[in-house]
C-alpha cells in the first residue's frame, strides 16, 4: 500500500537535473522562498524573536510579583504611560503582560516556532522527499504567520494596550470594551492576528500531512518512520482538526463584539447600563475554546516528544525502547486529546455529571504519557550516553514531563481541582509539563539539527552552560509555585496584599523572580551561540551525531531538492544503534540488510530478497512542478 502511494505520487530520480536550472534571486531564495529548509529557518528565527519578547514580558511581571515595592520608573522609557505616576506597573497592563506572554508563548513560539521549524525542516529530509507537497502553500503558511505576528506586535502600540483578558480571552470580559481597556482595539487586533495565525497553521498542517502520506521515499513505510515524523504527523492532524473550532469561537466573538449578536452574552449590566444581549452563553465560548485549547497542549508537546525520542536514542546509542508502543502512545494521546477539554471547566458551573465523564477521560490520558516516560528511561538504561547539548535538553524535557505530568493527576481529578483550580499550582503544572518541556524539546532540536540547518556546529561548552542555567532555573522558578498554589494563591493577581490569606510567601516570590531573571539572561547565551555559530561556528562533519536518519545523507549544505542524486532508498527502521555484530554502533536507514550480514537478525535476512524489488521501483518525479 505504502509502496503504491510512493510509486504513483513520488518523484522521478531522473528528473532531478531539472531542479538545477532555477536562477534564484535574493527575494526568492531568502524571503519568498518555497524551499522547506529556508521556510523552517524563517519560522525558527521568528520563533526565537517571539520567545525573547514573551520572556521579557514575563520578566516584567515577575518584577511586579517579586518586588512589589520596587520603583519601575526606569522602565518608563520602554513602557511610557503603563508606569503609573507612583512608578508602579499599571494593574491593567499587568494583565496585558500575562495575556500576551501566554498568547505569544503558546501560539507564536511553541506552535509556530516549534512545529513550523521542525515539521518544515525534518519532514522532507527524514522521509526522503525533495520538498513539501506544496512549496507555495508552505510559503503562504509562513507569510500568514508573519502577518499575524505583525498584527499582534502592533497591538502593543495601541493607547489602550494589547488584549488583557487572559490568553483564554473568556467573554464577556473580552467581548465588552467597557469592561477592560485591553478589550478595545487590543482585542480586535488579537482576534485578527489569531485568525491569520489559524490560516497559517492550517496551511502548514495540511501540507505536513500530505507530504508524510504521499512523498515518502522507497522503503519508508510508516513502520520505519522516525518518531519525530510520527509526532509531527499527529501534531498536524490534531491541529487541522482543532484549529477550525478556535476559528469559529473567534468568529462568534467577533460577531458579539462588533455586530451586536449574543452568542456569549446574556444578562449583563455594566458601566451603568443593562445591555440588550440575552440568551447567549459565556460557557459556550469556553467549550469551543478548550476544544482547541486542550489539543493545543499536545500540539505544543508532541513535537518535543518526537524530537527527544530521536535525540535520546541517538545519543544513548541504543534503539528507542518500544518503538511501536511509542507510536501507540502518540496515537492514544492524539485521540484522547480531543475528549478531555472540559477538565479546564470543572468549576465553571458545568453540569457535575459532565465533570465526572471528563475526569475519567482525563486520567486515561495519563497512561500513554506514563508509557512514554518509561520507554525513555528504558532507552537510556544500559546505553552509552553522550551528553551533547541536545541530549541534555532532552533529559531535561523528560524530567519536566515527569514532574509536571504528575501534577496533572491532581488537576484532572475534579474534586482536587476545586481548591487548586486557577491557583499557582496550575501555573506550576502547565509551565513544567507543557511550556518548559516543549521549550526544551525545541532547544534540543535546535542544538541537534543546527549542523544540518547551517552546516556548522554550535559551541558545545556554551550549550552546556546554557543548559545548566536554564534547567536549574526552570525548576527554581516553577517548583516553588506548587507550594504557593497549595497555599491557595490565585493566578493573574497583580498584588497579594489585599488579602490576609495570601499575604505571605513574599520571600519565595522574590526568589522565583530572581531565578526567572537569571534564566532569562541565560537565554542570551543561546542567542549569541546561535547567531555566532551560523557564521563562525566550526564546520560540521556530515553526520556529527552518527545518527541513522536520512537527513544526514544529504550534502553539508543541501540544495533545493535536498539530494543531488537519487533519493536514497530506505531498508530498515531508524534505530539500529549498537546492533550486535555490527562494526560501528549505528547503521543508517539507507544501508540494505544485504550489506550487514554480520548483524542481521533472522527475520531481517528474509527481507534481503525483497530489497531488490524495492530498488527496482521507478518513482516518477516528473509530476512534481517547480
Amino acid at each position: 500500500m505504502d509502496q503504491h502511494i510512493a510509486e504513483t505520487t513520488g518523484y522521478h530520480d531522473a528528473e532531478w537535473h531539472a531542479h538545477g536550472h532555477h536562477k534564484e534571486s535574493f527575494v526568492t531564495k531568502y524571503i519568498f522562498s518555497q524551499d522547506h529548509k529556508t521556510i523552517a529557518k524563517q519560522f525558527l528565527i521568528t520563533g526565537i524573536f517571539w520567545a525573547f519578547i514573551g520572556g521579557i514580558l514575563s520578566s516584567i511581571f515577575r518584577l511586579q510579583l517579586g518586588y512589589p515595592d520596587m520603583s519601575l520608573e526606569w522602565l518608563r522609557p520602554l513602557l511610557g504611560g503603563w508606569i503609573t505616576d507612583a512608578g508602579k506597573l499599571d494593574p491593567e497592563f499587568y494583565l496585558a503582560l500575562v495575556t500576551m506572554h501566554g498568547t505569544i508563548m503558546v501560539f507564536f513560539v511553541l506552535t509556530a516556532g516549534l512545529s513550523g521549524t521542525f515539521a518544515n525542516f525534518l519532514i522532507p529530509l527524514q522521509i526522503g522527499a525533495r520538498d513539501m507537497a506544496s512549496g507555495f502553500l508552505n510559503m503562504l503558511s509562513y507569510w500568514f504567520f508573519f502577518a499575524s505576528s505583525v498584527v499582534m506586535l502592533c497591538s502593543f502600540f495601541l493607547k489602550t494596550g494589547p488584549a488583557a483578558g487572559g490568553w483564554v480571552v473568556y467573554p464577556p470580559l473580552s467581548a465588552l470594551p467597557q469592561a477592560l481597556q485591553g478589550s478595545q482595539g487590543g482585542m480586535t487586533l488579537w482576534l485578527i492576528a489569531m485568525a491569520l495565525f489559524i490560516v497559517s497553521s492550517l496551511l502548514g498542517g495540511i501540507n505536513y500531512i500530505t507530504t508524510i502520506i504521499n512523498l515518502r521515499t522507497r522503503g519508508m513505510t510508516f513502520a520505519r518512520l522516525p518518531l519525530t515524523i510520527w509526532a509531527l504527523f499527529l501534531t498536524a492532524v490534531i491541529g487541522v482538526l482543532s484549529f477550525p473550532v478556535l476559528f469559529s469561537a473567534a468568529l462568534l466573538l467577533i460577531f458579539d463584539r462588533s455586530f451586536g449578536t449574543s452568542f456569549y452574552l446574556s444578562d449583563i449590566y455594566i458601566g451603568g447600563e443593562a445591555l440588550s444581549n440575552q440568551g447567549g452563553s459565556a460557557i459556550l465560548f469556553q467549550h469551543l475554546f478548550w476544544f482547541l485549547g486542550h489539543p493545543e497542549v499536545y500540539i505544543v508537546m508532541l513535537p518535543g516528544l518526537g524530537i527527544t525520542s530521536e535525540i535520546i536514542s541517538t545519543n544513548s546509542r541504543k534503539p528507542i525502547f518500544g518503538y511501536r508502543a511509542m507510536i501507540g502512545s502518540l496515537l492514544g494521546i492524539a485521540v484522547l486529546s480531543f475528549i478531555v477539554w472540559a477538565h479546564h471547566m470543572f468549576v465553571t458551573g458545568m453540569n457535575p455529571f459532565l465533570g465526572s465523564i471528563f475526569m475519567i477521560l482525563t486520567l486515561i490520558i495519563a497512561v500513554p504519557s506514563a508509557v512514554k516516560v518509561f520507554n525513555y528511561l528504558a532507552t537510556m538504561w544500559k546505553g552509552n550516553i553522550r551528553f551533547t547539548p541536545g541530549m541534555l535538553f532532552s533529559i531535561g524535557l523528560v524530567s519536566f514531563f515527569i514532574s509536571g505530568g504528575l501534577t496533572g493527576i491532581f488537576l484532572g481529578n475534579a474534586a482536587i481541582d476545586i481548591p487548586l483550580h486557577d491557583t499557582y499550582f496550575v501555573v506550576a503544572h502547565f509551565h513544567l509539563v507543557m511550556a518548559s518541556a516543549s521549550f526544551f524539546g525545541m532547544l534540543a532540536g535546535v542544538y541537534h539539527w543546527f549542523p544540518k540547518m547551517f552546516g556548522r556546529m554550535m559551541d558545545e561548552k556554551l550549550g552546556y552552560i546554557h543548559f545548566w542555567l536554564t534547567f536549574i532555573g526552570v525548576y527554581l522558578v516553577f517548583f516553588p509555585m506548587h507550594y504557593i498554589g497549595i497555599a491557595g494563591f490565585p493566578r493573574r493577581y497583580y498584588s497579594w496584599t489585599t488579602f490576609d490569606v495570601f499575604n505571605s510567601f513574599t520571600d519565595l516570590n522574590t526568589f522565583v523572580t530572581v531565578a526567572a531573571l537569571i534564566t532569562m539572561v541565560a537565554q542570551f547565551l543561546f542567542l549569541f551561540n546561535f547567531f555566532y555559530s551560523i557564521f563562525r561556528g566550526r564546520v560540521a562533519p556530515p553526520n556529527p551525531w552518527q545518527s541513522n536518519t536520512l537527513e544526514w545523507t544529504t550534502p553539508l549544505h543541501p540544495g533545493h531538492g535536498n539530494w543531488p542524486g537519487a533519493i536514497p532508498t530506505v531498508y530498515r527502521w531508524p534505530y539500529d544503534y549498537s546492533k550486535p555484530g555490527a562494526e560501528e554502533d549505528y547503521i543508517p536507514q539507507h544501508i540494505p540488510y544485504s550489506q550487514t550480514m554480520e548483524s542481521n537478525l533472522p527475520h531481517e535476512n528474509d527481507l534481503i530478497a525483497l530489497e531488490k524489488e524495492e530498488e527496482d521501483i521507478v518513482i516518477d518525479e516528473s509530476s512534481e512542478s517547480h
Binding site: V373, A378, M380, I395, I416, P419
Partner: protein
C-alpha cells in the same frame, strides 16, 4: 558620568568574555578535544546530573517538611476534609513516582555515560515489561478515578433542604451578598432592574423580596449546610473561599451554586491560627479586569445561636431604601409595609 562608566564596564566584560570564548574554542580545535567523545565535558555533565538529582531531592523534602504549616491552609469545611485527604493520597502516590522516575532518569544518565570501551545494549523492546507498565498505571489511575468520582459526586450533590441560602453576586470589582430574610425565600431579580442603588436588580413585584437583606459581610452558621447561589452582573468572576475549599465561577446569565458545611467558627480559627485578627476571606479567581486582585469580602462563621441573633437583627433592604416601595405593585403594598415596618402611606 556614572552611567557611562557602568556602560563601558559592561562592554569591557562582554568583550573579555567573547575573547575567552574564542580562545577556548580555538584551543579545543587545536587540541582535537572536540572530536573526543569520552571527554571531560561528558564526565562533568554526567556527574552534574547525578548531583542535581541528589541536591534537589534533598531540597524538595527539606522544604516540603520545614514549610509544611506555611503552605497548607487550615481547613474549615466538611467536604474540605475529603478533598484534602484525596490531595494527600494523590501526593503520596505521585510523589513515589516523581522521586523514582526522576531518580532513574538521572541515575541512568550518570551510570551509563559514554565510554569508548563500552557498548550499548541492543534492547528494542520487551512486551512483558511494556504491558506491565501500561497496566499498573492504568490500575492505579482507575482507583484514583473511582475515589475522585465518589468525592466529586458527594460534593456536587443536591444541597440539603434545610441549607442556609446566601446569594453571592460578583461585579467589577467587589462582591455583594443577599439573604432571603425571615421568609427563607430570595426575591426574584432581573438584570434590567439594576440601578446604582438596587444593585441586585431585585424585582419588588415578588413578595419574597420584601424581607431580603443585604449585609456588608457574609455570615454563615457553623455546622449547618450553606448553599451559595452565585451569579455575576458584568463579566465572569469566581467565588473562592480558600479555607473552605470552595470554588465556583460566577457567570452572567447563568446562575451557579455551591454548598458546603463550615466546621470552624471564625473565633475557633483565630485560636487555631493564633492570630486574633484572623478573618475568612472570599476572593475572585477568574480574571475579571483591573481590580481582579482586590475583590475581597470577609466571611464570618458564627456559632448557630450567634448566627440566629445576627440574622434576626438584620434590617430588610427595603426598609433601608423606602423609595423602592413605589416599585411594589398596588395590591402588595400593604404586605410590604408590614414586612418592612414602614408605613407606606407616609
Amino acid at each position: 558620568m556614572f552611567e557611562v562608566a557602568i556602560g563601558l564596564g559592561v562592554i569591557l566584560v562582554l568583550v573579555i568574555l567573547l575573547l575567552l570564548f574564542r580562545v577556548q574554542s580555538l584551543l579545543n580545535v587545536a587540541r582535537g578535544s572536540d572530536k573526543k567523545i569520552e571527554s571531560t565535558s561528558n564526565k562533568v555533565n554526567g556527574a552534574l546530573l547525578l548531583l542535581f538529582m541528589i541536591v534537589s531531592i534533598i531540597a524538595f523534602f527539606w522544604y516540603s517538611i520545614a514549610e509544611f504549616d506555611n503552605y497548607t491552609l487550615p481547613n474549615a469545611s466538611e467536604h474540605g476534609v475529603l478533598t484534602d485527604r484525596m490531595f494527600w493520597v494523590t501526593t503520596a502516590i505521585t510523589g513515589v513516582v516523581f522521586i523514582l522516575a526522576n531518580a532513574a532518569l538521572f541515575y541512568f544518565a550518570f551510570r551509563y555515560q559514554y565510554k569508548d570501551s563500552g557498548k550499548a545494549l541492543f534492547y528494542p523492546d520487551n512486551h512483558k515489561l511494556e504491558i506491565a507498565w501500561t497496566v499498573i498505571p492504568a490500575i492505579v489511575l482507575t482507583l484514583l478515578v473511582g475515589y475522585g468520582l465518589k468525592v466529586w459526586t458527594q460534593i456536587t450533590n443536591e444541597p440539603p433542604e434545610e441549607s442556609e441560602v446566601v446569594e453571592v453576586m460578583g461585579y467589577q470589582f467587589a462582591w455583594k451578598v443577599r439573604y432571603p430574610g425571615k421568609d427563607g425565600m430570595l426575591g426574584g431579580y432581573d438584570y434590567r432592574l439594576i440601578d446604582p442603588v438596587n444593585e441586585f436588580g431585585v424585582d419588588f413585584s415578588d413578595k419574597a423580596s420584601f424581607d431580603d437583606f443585604v449585609p456588608r459581610e457574609i455570615h454563615v452558621p457553623k455546622g449547618k449546610p450553606v448553599l451559595l447561589k452565585i451569579r455575576a452582573r458584568d463579566v465572569l468572576h469566581s467565588v473562592y473561599l480558600p479555607h473552605f475549599r470552595v470554588k465556583m465561577d460566577a457567570v452572567p446569565g447563568m446562575p451557579t451554586r455551591f454548598w458546603f458545611i463550615p466546621t470552624k467558627s471564625t473565633e475557633e480559627m483565630r485560636q487555631e491560627t493564633g492570630n486574633p485578627d484572623f478573618n475568612y476571606e472570599l476572593a475572585c479567581t477568574e480574571i475579571c479586569g483591573r481590580g481582579h486582585f482586590s475583590m475581597r469580602l470577609i466571611m464570618v462563621v458564627d456559632e448557630p445561636e450567634d448566627y440566629e441573633k445576627w440574622y434576626n437583627s438584620q434590617e430588610p433592604w427595603l426598609t433601608q431604601n423606602p423609595t423602592y416601595l413605589s416599585k411594589v405593585p398596588e395590591k402588595l403594598q400593604e404586605l410590604a409595609a408590614v414586612t418592612t415596618g414602614i408605613n407606606s402611606k407616609n
